[in-house]
C-alpha cells in the first residue's frame, strides 16, 4: 500500500501547463485550463464609451462575448490586426472573454523548479496579476494570473463597477 501511494504521488506532479503567446516583444503564459479555444481575429461590434482595449463584442456560436485587446491593455507599442492575430477565448468563472494577442506560440509544461517569483516592476500591468516568471533556457515567460487580470476593476468587464456614461 505504502509503495503504491508513493507511486501515485509521483504520477500527479506539480507540473502545470501553460499556453504561451506573444505580445509585442514579450512572451506570456497563462494556465491552459482557462483556455476554451483559439480563433482568428474578426472585427467585433464596437461598444460606445468602452475603454479602448475593449474592442467590442463578437458572436461565438450564439453567445455574445467581449473581446479585450491585451496589447492595448498592456501598452504595447503596436497593435496591428493581421492574419496571424489571434483571439484566445478564455473561460473564467463561467464568464467567457476573448483576448487578442499577437500570436500563440505553444503549450508548455513548466516544472516547479523553473518558476521564479514575480519581480517588483512598474508598468501597465497590475502586479498582483503576475504569478511569476518562467525560465526556459534563454526564454523568459511572464506567467499571468488571467483571472485576476480580467476581473480587475480597470477592465470594466462586468457590471459591478459602473463606468460613468458619457
Amino acid at each position: 500500500m505504502g509503495m503504491m501511494e508513493k507511486a501515485v504521488q509521483l504520477d500527479t506532479p506539480a507540473v502545470r501547463e501553460y499556453l504561451t503567446f506573444r505580445l509585442g516583444g514579450e512572451e506570456y503564459g497563462i494556465d491552459i485550463l482557462k483556455v476554451q479555444e483559439i480563433r482568428g481575429y474578426e472585427a467585433p461590434t464596437r461598444i460606445a464609451h468602452a475603454p479602448a482595449f475593449i474592442k467590442g463584442v463578437t458572436n461565438l456560436r450564439g453567445t455574445i462575448v467581449p473581446i479585450v485587446d491585451l496589447r492595448l491593455k498592456l501598452g504595447c507599442a503596436q497593435a496591428e490586426y493581421s492574419v496571424s492575430t489571434v483571439v484566445v477565448i478564455l473561460n473564467l468563472h463561467s464568464r467567457i472573454v476573448g483576448v487578442v494577442v499577437d500570436s500563440v506560440s505553444d503549450v508548455m509544461a513548466l516544472p516547479p523548479d523553473s518558476l521564479r517569483p514575480a519581480p517588483d516592476v512598474d508598468g501597465s500591468i497590475d502586479r498582483n496579476a503576475v504569478m511569476g516568471l518562467g525560465a526556459l533556457g534563454e526564454r523568459m515567460l511572464i506567467l499571468l494570473d488571467i483571472d485576476k487580470l480580467m476581473s480587475g476593476l480597470d477592465m470594466a468587464l462586468s457590471s459591478e463597477i459602473s463606468v460613468s456614461p458619457a
Binding site: 500500500m1 460606445a48 456560436r61 453567445t63 455574445i64 467581449p66 472573454v97
Partner: protein, 732 residues
C-alpha cells in the same frame, strides 16, 4: 376575435382543478425532496436563517398547494410541520435531531399521502395522527420520550437462504443487475484466485481516487490467493465491475451483499429509504463467502438506541426477507411501501433547466444562420447541374425552420396557467363588493413564452380587478340601467400575427370622457376637448390618475394603470383602451410571443447597425433643415406636426466613427417610451426583421442606452437600443 384558437367558457365556481394536479404533484415532490436534502444538511448547532427559511418555504409551498387542491390530510400534516419550522426560523426553538427526524418522517408520510391522492385516493392512507402529535409536542418545546421513537422495522436478515439456491457457474459471479441502484449498499467483494494477490490491492486506489465511489476496507481472507474487501458504495455492481476491469479480470471478481448487518447507513439515511422497495439483485457464487466479520466502518451505529434511529437498514435486505419469508412488517411503514410505487408512474412531462432550453435555442439560431448562408451562396448555382444539391438545400431549409419552431415551442406554456387564478380572485372580490359577476375566459390554450407569462400575471390581475371594482355596477344599478343583473368580465387571449393579444372586457359602466377630462384638468395635465377618445383613455395611464369616486381597499388609489402600462411596455408590448360609457370597457394588451424574439427595425449609423424594438417606433421621416431648431447649449428640437420633440443624434451618442460623409444623417425615427417621444437622428433605415434577443450582461456588462444584442444574418453582432433609456436621457 376572429383568430381565436379555442374558446371555452367557465364560471368562477366550476373551474376544473384536476388539470393542475399533475403539476402540483410534481412540484410537491420536488419541494419535499429539497426539504429532505436541506434537513439532512442542516447543521443543528449553527443553522443559519437562510437554510431554515428555505425549509420553511418548502413546507409552506406544499401546504398551500395541498390546501388549494383539497388534500386536507396533506395540508394538515404540512401545516404542523410549518408551525414547527416557523418557530425554528423565529429562533423560538433550537433545532435538534429529534425535530429533524420527525420532519423527515413527516416528509415521507406526505409523500405517501400525495402518492395515494395521485393514484386516485385508493389504498390505505398512511396514519399521520402519531406524527402530528409528535410534531406538536416538539413545537410546544417538549421532547420525545424514547418510546415514541418511530416504529422500527426489525427484520431478520435471511440472506443466507440465497446461498442454498442452485447456481450454475463456477468461480465467477453472475451479475443480475438493475440499471441503477439508489442508496448506499454494503458489499463484500472477493477478488481471486490471483497469482499475485497484490494486484487486487489496486481497487483500493480506485476507491481513493474516484470521489464519491464509496468506502473500501480490506478484510481478512480465508484463502491465500483471494483478497476480500468490505465496500460501502452507491454504485451498481456493473459499474464496479467495469472499474475493476482495469486491474483484474471481471471473471475473478465476485460481489455480494454483505451478510453482516451491523452496517447501518450514516445519519438517518436508511430509514428514509422506505420507498425503495425493489429487491436488491445479488450476485450468487457457489462457494460460500468467508465468515470473516467485517471491520466496522467509521460512522456506523452511531445512532443506535437514540430516538428516530435509522432502521436496521438494508431496505433491500428487509424487503427481500419479507418477500421470502412473509415476515409481517409494521403497518406504518407497510402503508407507505404499498402506496409509493404508484407515485413512480411515468410522468408525462419532464422538467428541464431553462438554461438547457436556451442553449438549444442558441444552437438552432446558429443553424438558421448557417442555413441562410448556404441558401445565399447556392443561389448562383445552375439548377440543371446541381439539382440534387439544391433539392437537399431546400429540405434543409424546411427542416431548419421546423426545428426552430419546435424548439421555440418548448418555452411556450398555455395562458390557462394565468387565467386559472382569476375565477377564485373574482369570486372573493365580487363577494366583498356585493356585486354579481360572471367570469368568461376564451383562448386559454393560446401559448406564450414562459418568461412573459410570469411577467404578465400582475398587470392582468390589476386589469381584471379594476374591471370588477370600477367597471361592473352594483346589481341594483345594473337592473335600473336595463342590463342583466349579473355582470360579465371576459378574459381572452389570441394570436395575431407574431404577437398575442390579451383582452379584458367588461359590460360595466365604461369610462366617462368628461369625468376623465375634468380629473385631468384638476391634476393640471395638459388636455383639451379636441382630444380623440383614444387619447383621452390614454390619460388614465398617467401616474396617480384615478377616476374612482371612492377609494376602496381594492383599487382607486391611482396606483396601478401607470404601473400596468410600464410593465407591459417593458415587455415590448402595447396597451389600448376602448370604452363606451354605459356599455363597458375593453383593455387590449398586445405582446410579442416571446421575449427571446423581437420585431426589430434596423437602422444604419455610419458603418454600424443598431436595432430598435419595432413596438416603440412611431414614425420616421426625412429631415427637413428648417424643421430643426436648437435650444440653449445646442440641444436640438424637431417640429413634427405642431409638436416639438427632442432630437438625439445617434452618431454622437454612440461615438460612431465616420469614414465617408456621403450618406449622412438623413432620417429621423420617432420613438415612444414611458409616454414620451423623442426623435433619433440616424443615417438610414435598413429594414424590419425578427431578431433573437441575446443578453449582453452574461459575459460582459450593462452598456448605457443598450438593452441587449442580437446576431444578424451575416453572423455579426448588432446592439439593440434601449428606447426607455433614450427617452429618459432626453428628459434630463
Amino acid at each position: 376575435m376572429s383568430e381565436m384558437h379555442q374558446e371555452s367558457t367557465g364560471s368562477g365556481d366550476s373551474i376544473d382543478l384536476s388539470q393542475f394536479y399533475q403539476i402540483f404533484f410534481e412540484e410537491a415532490g420536488e419541494n419535499l425532496d429539497l426539504m429532505e436534502q436541506m434537513l439532512l444538511n442542516l447543521k443543528l448547532e449553527e443553522a443559519d436563517d437562510e437554510e431554515l427559511n428555505g425549509i420553511f418555504r418548502c413546507a409552506h409551498s406544499v401546504k398551500g398547494g395541498a390546501a388549494t387542491f383539497g388534500f386536507a390530510d396533506v395540508a394538515e400534516l404540512t401545516h404542523q410541520m410549518e408551525s414547527l419550522l416557523d418557530k425554528l426560523r423565529r429562533h423560538e426553538l433550537q433545532p435538534n435531531s429529534q425535530m429533524v427526524d420527525v420532519l423527515l418522517e413527516s416528509a415521507d408520510a406526505s409523500r405517501g399521502l400525495l402518492a395515494r391522492h395521485q393514484a386516485g385516493g385508493t389504498g390505505e392512507s398512511p396514519p399521520t395522527a402519531d406524527l402530528v402529535h409528535r410534531i406538536s409536542v416538539l413545537a410546544s418545546g417538549g421532547s420525545l420520550a424514547p418510546s415514541q421513537a418511530p416504529a422500527v422495522v426489525q427484520v431478520a436478515q435471511s440472506i443466507s437462504s440465497q446461498k442454498e439456491l442452485p447456481m450454475p457457474s463456477s468461480s465467477m459471479s453472475m451479475a443480475i443487475e438493475k440499471p441503477s441502484v439508489q442508496g448506499l449498499r454494503s458489499l463484500e467483494i472477493r477478488i481471486g484466485p490471483l497469482d499475485k494477490p497484490e494486484q487486487a490491492d489496486a481497487v483500493l486506489e480506485l476507491f481513493r481516487d474516484i470521489a464519491g465511489l464509496g468506502k473500501i476496507v480490506a478484510s481478512a481472507s480465508d484463502q491465500e490467493d483471494v483478497r476480500v474487501f468490505a465496500v460501502e458504495t452507491t454504485s451498481s455492481n456493473d459499474d464496479l465491475l467495469d472499474l475493476f476491469e482495469f486491474h483484474v479480470s471481471r471473471a475473478l471478481v465476485s460481489i455480494q451483499v454483505a451478510k453482516d448487518s451491523g452496517t447501518s447507513a450514516p445519519a438517518g439515511y436508511g430509514f428514509f429509504d422506505v420507498p425503495d422497495t425493489h429487491v436488491e439483485p445479488v450476485s450468487y457464487a457457489d462457494d460460500p463467502p468467508p465468515g470473516a466479520p467485517l471491520a466496522p466502518l467509521p460512522g456506523f451505529g452511531i445512532f443506535d438506541g437514540s430516538p428516530g434511529a435509522p432502521v436496521a437498514r438494508d431496505a433491500e435486505g428487509s424487503a427481500q426477507a419479507s418477500a421470502l419469508s412473509g415476515t409481517k412488517v409494521t403497518p406504518a411503514t407497510a402503508g407507505a411501501k404499498a402506496v409509493v410505487p404508484a407515485a413512480q408512474a411515468e410522468a408525462a412531462t419532464i422538467r428541464v433547466a431553462i438554461s438547457k432550453v436556451d442553449q438549444l435555442i442558441n444552437l438552432v439560431g446558429e443553424l438558421v444562420i448557417t442555413q441562410a448562408m448556404l441558401a445565399q451562396n447556392s443561389r448562383a448555382l445552375d439548377p440543371a447541374v446541381y439539382q440534387q444539391m439544391l433539392v437537399g438545400l431546400a429540405d434543409l431549409d424546411r427542416n431548419t425552420r421546423d426545428l426552430q419552431e419546435s424548439v421555440m415551442s418548448i418555452r411556450m406554456i398555455p395562458m390557462s396557467i394565468v387565467f386559472s387564478r382569476f375565477p377564485r380572485m373574482l369570486r372573493d372580490l365580487a363577494g366583498k363588493l356585493g356585486k354579481k359577476v360572471e367570469f368568461v375566459t376564451q383562448g386559454e390554450a393560446t401559448e406564450l413564452d414562459k418568461g412573459l407569462v410570469e411577467k404578465i400575471t400582475d398587470p392582468l390581475t390589476h386589469l381584471v380587478r379594476n374591471s370588477c371594482d370600477h367597471g361592473i355596477e352594483m346589481p341594483a344599478d345594473r337592473l335600473a340601467a336595463g342590463k342583466p343583473e349579473i355582470g360579465t368580465i371576459t378574459l381572452s387571449a389570441a394570436h395575431q400575427g407574431g404577437s398575442i393579444v390579451i383582452e379584458v372586457r367588461d359590460d360595466g359602466r365604461g369610462m366617462s370622457r368628461e369625468k376623465i377630462l375634468s380629473k385631468a384638468r384638476e391634476r393640471g395635465l395638459d388636455v383639451s376637448d379636441q382630444m380623440t377618445d383614444s387619447e383621452v383613455w390614454q390619460l388614465i395611464f398617467a401616474p396617480g390618475f384615478s377616476t374612482a369616486d371612492v377609494v376602496t381597499d381594492v383599487s382607486g388609489r391611482g396606483v396601478g394603470m401607470d404601473v400596468v402600462k410600464r410593465n407591459i411596455t417593458a415587455l415590448n408590448g402595447t396597451v389600448e383602451i376602448d370604452s363606451a360609457e354605459g356599455f363597458g370597457m375593453k383593455v387590449s394588451v398586445r405582446l410579442p410571443l416571446t421575449l427571446a424574439i423581437m420585431d426589430g427595425m434596423s437602422v444604419g449609423i455610419g458603418n454600424e447597425v443598431y436595432l430598435l424594438p419595432l413596438s416603440s417606433v412611431i414614425e420616421s421621416f426625412q429631415v427637413d433643415e428648417s424643421a430643426v431648431n436648437t435650444v440653449g447649449q445646442g440641444a436640438q428640437l424637431v417640429k413634427v406636426r405642431e409638436e416639438y420633440m427632442p432630437v438625439i443624434e445617434m452618431e454622437k451618442l454612440f461615438q460612431v466613427p465616420r469614414f465617408n460623409s456621403d450618406k449622412c444623417n438623413g432620417i429621423m425615427v420617432v420613438i415612444e417610451a414611458d409616454g414620451s417621444r423623442v426623435a433619433l437622428l440616424v443615417d438610414e433605415l435598413l429594414g424590419q426583421q425578427q431578431v433573437v434577443v441575446k443578453n449582453l450582461e452574461s459575459n460582459y456588462r450593462k452598456v448605457p442606452n443598450v438593452s441587449g444584442a442580437t446576431i444578424l444574418g451575416d453572423g455579426k453582432v448588432a446592439l439593440i437600443l434601449d428606447t426607455a433609456a433614450l427617452v429618459r436621457r432626453s428628459r434630463h
